[in-house]
């Protein structure tokens, strides 16, 4: 079936969830989440049957592409959304407390489940935006898709309206997000002015033309790069990341961290490609990307080291992973290579999804049942909940890049690409960053395994209960991390 049916189905699913919430009296609104998850799982299955219908002669295909990359990122968006809604189910108790008129009135709030329906519906619309973003190959459709996603996130970040942290995060995200949107549009305007087109294939052609206005083209590139660096959280535009990640509700943080970053990178790949392919601009564009990648790796990893709040730690970690991904983007191949940058980025993001979502699933459980998100709240987790501690250990090992996990293969390919492109200094920065990563990821392991658990009677001493869907998700992610860490073939072969 044509790929664009998928977005339509997802939007209809979102509307259905809203309608059911409005017109069907539900005893427990969490059943809406199961409806959403089942629907998205169905779309995920359909995603495998979608065919590349691009190249038709209707004007629609000027706006939309359904190549391998697009389908791949649609899969990532769907999987992320499913896991986020799953987390939201566990998180709903905390969420209701953050929304209820009187936060202390625990009992009455629990019965009402205020606004829970929207919290399950919004991710579906964001998902539709992310999927469209993966397919956009026209400046207008890129912009519209991006805004669909961003506006959805504005609402979700500030969702816990009685919670000061969540509100602060919402305001920060709104202001900086709007600013970066301004840069993006301005950059698009310049790009249109330089190339006379809004379609990416035509832009690529125009950028290779001999009469290209180099300065103007580079200015357009700079503006676009600034905006996209905001979206993916690259230095020096990463300032919003720690605060917003810390303040947003846990499932939203996970969504931002994986979904938003993946979509940012697919746009980045599509927009950078014509500039990299241009013989005049290639060197300057590469230099800019290399500098940003190096700074992002160094800053993200070093700033993560002193963090004691786990969410903040993962926020800096997400900055550092953006650096590794940019490293791949900056390494256009000069010879026949084992992997292309596109394949490496796609693989890295899939691995990043697995390990980050695994970490967030467990963080979510700890947040809800132990009431905290600091590293101290993880003390002795290996004694009270050995399964969760082991899963978190695997997630951290994979994020740190320990071999035989998916995270290592991603890093390995990035190193191969960067060395093939001859970016030796960048590899040096990556070595420093990756080594620093060992420290802060293992800090979590230390808290779980070395430190004594809390005294009996305290909330932190009780075992954490895990519902079966969450447990199934954790086990599946664990298996995926090991499987793709040893056998990355089935993911990479798509791109060869």
């Amino acid at each position: 079936m044509p790929a664009y049916y998928l977005e339509i189905i997802v939007v209809v699913l979102g509307l259905t969830v809203l309608m059911v919430e409005t017109f069907v009296p539900l005893r427990d609104k969490r059943s809406l989440a199961w409806l959403a998850i089942l629907g998205l799982l169905g779309v995920l299955v359909l995603n495998f049957t979608a065919v590349d219908g691009s190249g038709g002669d209707t004007p629609f295909w000027d706006f939309y592409t359904a190549d391998v990359l697009a389908l791949w990122f649609k899969g990532i968006a769907l999987l992320t959304t499913i896991l986020v809604i799953l987390m939201s189910v566990d998180f709903s108790k905390v969420l209701s407390q953050g929304i209820a008129p009187d936060a202390d009135a625990d009992e009455s709030a629990k019965g009402k489940q205020v606004a829970l329906g929207e919290f399950f519906a919004l991710p579906i619309f964001i998902c539709a935006g992310l999927m469209w973003m993966a397919s956009a190959n026209h400046l207008v459709s890129i912009f519209v898709a991006l805004e669909t996603v961003t506006i959805g996130f504005y609402v979700m970040v500030a969702f816990m309206r009685r919670n000061v942290g969540s509100l602060e995060a919402g305001v920060k995200y709104l202001i900086l997000g709007a600013l970066s949107t301004g840069f993006l549009v301005y950059g698009f305007a310049w790009l249109f002015g330089v190339t006379g087109s809004m379609e990416l294939p035509a832009i690529a052609e125009a950028l290779n033309a001999p009469d290209l206005q180099t300065t103007a083209a580079l200015f357009a590139f700079a503006l676009i790069l600034i905006a996209l660096c905001f979206k993916v959280g690259a230095v020096p535009f990463q300032l919003w990341i720690p605060d917003v990640y810390q303040g947003a509700p846990m499932p939203v943080t996970a969504f931002l961290s994986v979904g938003s970053k993946a979509a940012g990178f697919v746009i980045l790949l599509r927009l950078v490609e014509p500039f990299m392919a241009s013989t005049v601009l290639h060197d300057k564009v590469t230099l800019a990307l290399v500098i940003i990648a190096g700074a992002t790796i160094i800053y993200g990893n070093l700033a993560a080291m002193p963090q004691s709040n786990f969410k903040r730690l993962l926020a800096y970690s997400s900055v550092s992973h953006a650096g590794f991904l940019l490293m791949a983007v900056a390494s256009a191949p000069t010879q026949v290579v084992a992997v292309s940058p596109v394949a490496a980025v796609a693989y890295y993001l899939a691995a990043y999804l697995m390990m980050t979502m695994l970490a967030f699933l467990i963080m979510n459980l700890v947040r809800v049942q132990r009431g905290g998100e600091n590293l101290d709240d993880y003390k002795g987790l290996a004694r009270t909940s050995p399964f969760l501690a082991f899963a978190m250990l695997v997630a951290m090992a994979s994020l740190a890049g320990v071999p035989l996990t998916a995270g290592f293969v991603g890093k390995f390919f990035v190193f191969v690409l960067a060395l093939q492109a001859g970016h030796y200094y960048l590899v040096g920065a990556a070595v420093i960053g990756a080594a620093a990563g060992f420290y802060y990821y293992l800090k979590v392991v230390k808290a779980m395994y070395w430190d004594a658990p809390a005294e009996a009677g305290e909330p932190a001493a009780a075992a954490i209960t895990v519902t079966w869907p969450t447990r199934a998700a954790i086990i599946l992610l664990l298996l995926a991390i090991f499987y793709f860490g040893v056998n990355p073939k089935c993911l990479l072969s798509l791109f060869s």
């Binding site: 071999p403 035989l404 191969v416 070595v431 060992f438 990355p488 073939k489």
Partner: protein
């Protein structure tokens, strides 16, 4: 599944079984014993007479294939789970098998385990699996990956079960050192892969590419890659001046971890130099030979004097293990066949003897709770005669007394070091290797000083008042058996080093660019 894959799989399967509730100690010991038998079986399968190709008992499961540039239409393996052994890896497998069995057999102090027995045995088995996998792999990806597999278990073991007031600081220091080292190593290995065509991570293909004339475009690139690898491997082997993590880590680690890490895992770096860096980057190796010689003399003399100054037995052992790595580096840096043979034999002999010493160290710690020479005060020979006897064997082996495998290895290394003395017919040449060898021979005196002093301070003399009235149990038979296994191995190889050397000779002669 081939024999080698079974050897890698047994400890992993046993570790998973332990995680899911299999009885801890019996499972671990059984797995280690089965593995040792399998390894001996691999020796039997290895064909010494008809050697075709560099590796035997090979199996390959390609994971990613790329179009072959040389033969259009064909597929070349980019990387895959390839296993195979030659004489060098076979000897190291035997080392791993023996030390693993001894390490899980040595009964730990109960208070060390702190109720988490599963993690204790599971981690030990995973460390062993990592070493076995690294020695069996003939693919760069898995060679690196298996070694790293051991990093997390080691971190957990030292952090949870380590002893001493500084265990947190020490565990961090070691983990950061090893993390930095392995990331530098990764960068170096990937750079090597890219420089050697970027088509295959299989050792055989990379070596074939490296043997082609002018394989690497510029000599500065080759030198740079070799230096990166040297630093990466050097940190893992505790090459001076990157060695400071090792003594403290071994002194703090629980007994099986110290045995496995100092005895087996640390040899990975030397193995990597012999397997990858020297044969694939011969010009780089020649370029940096002098630097290596200077550093290894630092290992032997500087760390040797540091070892003499130690006031605690466990720190003395940790330092001595760093010092002995200097000899292994000397054997490799001599770039002669006999020197490299000696280096591999020393890896084996030192692995066994340091594991033995750390096992004894654990028994002493269990009985005294301290390892400071002054607080123990000597005279233990009367109190613990069996422990004293075994300890004597271990110390003599560590010093390198004839009759122990260590002696054979060190002598071969010195022969290798002096081999170039009459290289030119007219006169004898005192090159950098020979000067370094002469310095290194002083190391023998140094190790005799600290070894014999440790023996005197612990076991000789009258019993001090503090221990006179204490009833201390001597080693039980169950405690003796793993130690005897190690001592017998040292003696057998010491009297008949040919048993192992006949496996080493063809494989090491295969390494090009070594002087005969």
């Amino acid at each position: 599944m081939t024999l080698l894959e079974a050897i890698i799989a047994v400890p992993i399967v046993a570790a998973i079984a332990i995680a899911f509730g299999s009885p801890t100690r019996p499972t671990a010991v059984a797995a280690a014993a089965i593995n040792l038998i399998l390894i001996l079986f691999a020796f039997g399968q290895y064909d010494l007479v008809h050697q075709e190709g560099a590796y035997q008992l090979t199996a390959s499961h390609p994971i990613i294939t790329v179009p072959d540039l040389a033969n259009p239409g064909a597929e070349a393996t980019l990387f895959g789970l390839s296993t195979g052994v030659d004489g060098i890896s076979l000897v190291l497998l035997l080392l791993t098998g023996i030390v693993t069995l001894a390490a899980v057999w040595v009964s730990p102090a109960e208070d060390q385990i702190k109720g988490n027995k599963r993690l204790y045995y599971l981690s030990s088995l995973l460390i062993s699996a990592g070493a076995l996998g690294a020695f069996c792999s003939t693919d760069l990806f898995f060679f690196f990956a298996f070694h790293e597999l051991a990093l997390i278990p080691t971190f957990l073991m030292i952090g949870i079960f380590g002893s001493g007031p500084n265990r947190v600081r020490v565990a961090w220091k070691m983990t950061i050192y090893l993390g930095v080292g392995s990331m530098i190593l990764l960068a170096g290995l990937v750079a090597l892969f890219v420089a050697l065509g970027g088509q295959s991570l299989q050792f055989v293909d990379m070596q074939a590419w490296a043997d082609a004339p002018a394989a690497i475009a510029s000599s500065s690139l080759e030198n740079g890659i070799f230096l990166t690898l040297l630093i990466g491997f050097g940190i893992l082997v505790s090459l001076f001046p990157f060695h400071t993590w090792a003594p403290e880590a071994y002194a703090t680690a629980p007994t099986p971890t110290a045995m496995l890490h100092a005895g087996v895992l640390k040899k990975f770096g030397l193995y990597g130099l012999i397997r990858i860096a020297i044969p694939m980057l011969p010009n780089g190796a020649a370029h940096w030979q002098t630097l290596v010689l200077v550093l290894l003399v630092g290992n032997i003399l500087y760390v040797g004097y540091v070892t003499i100054a130690q006031k605690r037995f466990d720190l003395m052992l940790g330092n001595s293990s760093v010092m002995h790595m200097g000899y292994a580096f000397l054997g490799i840096a001599s770039m002669t066949v006999i020197g490299v043979q000696g280096a591999v034999l020393l890896m084996f002999a030192h692995g066994i003897s340091i594991a033995l010493l750390f096992a004894l160290n654990g028994h002493l710690r269990k009985r005294f709770g301290t390892l400071e020479f002054d607080r123990i005060g000597g005279g233990l020979g009367k109190l613990l005669p069996t422990l004293g006897l075994l300890f004597g064997f271990a110390i003599m082996a560590g010093i390198g007394l004839p009759g122990f495998a260590n002696f054979a290895a060190e002598v071969m290394i010195f022969f290798g070091g002096f081999a170039g003395l009459f290289a030119q017919e007219k006169d004898f040449v005192l090159g950098p290797v020979q000067i370094a060898t002469m310095c290194a021979i002083w190391g023998v005196v140094i190790s005799a000083v600290y070894g014999l002093r440790a023996y005197r301070n612990l076991f000789m003399g009258p019993l001090p008042d503090s221990t006179k009235d204490r009833k201390l149990a001597d080693l039980t038979l169950a405690e003796q058996l793993p130690l005897i296994l190690l001592i017998v191995t040292l003696l057998v190889i010491g009297f008949a080093p040919g048993l192992l050397i006949k496996y080493l000779i063809p494989s090491i002669e295969n390494i090009s660019h070594l002087a005969g």
